[in-house]
């Protein structure tokens, strides 16, 4: 596949995904993150193109994923006042949830006998996709699988999270937003914004902090389980 073909196909898949999302009236299961990838998979299968040949030619777009990841400092910077106002509950929650999200995934993966590279891929499942891709890349997991697992995790939280909170009798935007953002990253954050703008802001902040915290924890936690 030539670079032009790869970039053109990627752009068309994105535009089609975006168009479908708008026409559907923003249905959560038709999010462009999911459908864009799905369309590209269909194009690769239909044209019988080798994935790695496509990936090599689409390097320019993949590089900009890294640039957009660096830009995630911006929403974090913009909700810094929330950190100052609620520093206690935010950091208590982050400390426990971050470790728990990683350790439960690794323990369950090893208990079910999954190979090491899958356990490593599952470990950062609660962080935003670009972070998870970067982390699995550097620790020996499977980056594309990581993208899929992270997206499914986000959908689980977006769909079930608000109901679980209601059952627990919690409607305060602080715990709701923190729980959604720390476990379900951007996809759950989009859902949290639908519930209230306050819950959404807490969720966006929680997702950024969770990404940083997980990145700092993984190099220490993985060796404890004989990974990496």
């Amino acid at each position: 596949m030539t670079p032009l073909e790869a970039i053109l196909a990627t752009l068309l898949c994105f535009l089609a995904a975006h168009g479908l999302y708008r026409v559907s009236g923003h249905q959560p299961w038709l999010q462009p993150v999911i459908t864009g990838i799905l369309f590209m998979v269909i194009v690769l299968l239909a044209t019988d193109t080798n994935y790695w040949s496509y990936f090599d030619s689409a390097q320019a777009i993949h590089t900009l994923l890294g640039t957009a990841t660096v830009a995630l400092a911006i929403p974090l910077y913009e909700c810094r006042h929330l950190i100052r106002q609620h520093i206690g509950p935010i950091f208590r929650t982050l400390l426990a949830t971050g470790i728990l999200a990683i350790v439960t995934a690794i323990v369950l993966a090893q208990w079910l006998g999954l190979p090491d590279n899958l356990a490593i891929t599952l470990a950062p499942k609660s962080v935003t996709t670009p972070f998870a891709i970067a982390l699995t890349e550097s620790f020996g997991g499977i980056p594309p699988l990581s993208a899929a697992l992270v997206i499914v995790t986000g959908m689980i939280v977006a769909l079930a999270g608000p109901g679980i909170a209601r059952l627990a009798g919690i409607s305060n935007p602080l715990p709701l937003g923190l729980a959604m953002g720390m476990t379900g990253h951007g996809i759950a954050t989009a859902r949290a914004f639908e519930l209230s703008s306050e819950a959404g802001a807490f969720s966006a902040l929680a997702m950024g902090l969770m990404g940083i915290y997980t990145s700092l924890l993984l190099p220490w936690i993985l060796p404890l389980f004989g990974l990496h």
Partner: protein
């Protein structure tokens, strides 16, 4: 357009710096994440007003994340055998290892039952 390009170059500069520092000092952190932390420090030093233009451009990049994901995400086709072999185990891990931290986060951040409900 030229301004926009200079903002993208700024952000990409931090991306490069993060990768270079992580490699040079063998920091066990992905280069882009180190780059993000450096960019965050840059924003704090620049302040609300001066950083506004680069933040506006950066937000456009973030809005297009579903586009940037496509090359990496489509790689799932190269690993369909993994999904076929370990599909249900992966789903089980995702469900349980998401539910436990979610409830913990609600419990720690919520503390008590919400009096307003």
């Amino acid at each position: 357009m030229i301004r926009t390009l200079s903002h993208i170059a700024t952000i990409a500069g931090f991306q490069w710096l993060g990768a270079a520092l992580a490699q040079h000092f063998s920091i066990p952190l992905p280069g882009v994440i180190l780059g993000m932390l450096l960019f965050l420090i840059f924003l704090m030093l620049a302040g609300e007003k001066r950083s506004a233009p680069v933040r506006n451009t950066g937000k456009q990049l973030i809005k297009l994340l579903p586009l940037w994901f496509i090359p990496a995400g489509a790689g799932i086709v190269a690993y369909s055998h993994v999904l076929a072999e370990y599909g249900w185990q992966l789903v089980f891990v995702l469900l349980v290892a998401t539910f436990i931290p979610f409830v913990t986060a609600l419990w720690i951040a919520g503390g008590r039952r919400d009096p307003e409900t």
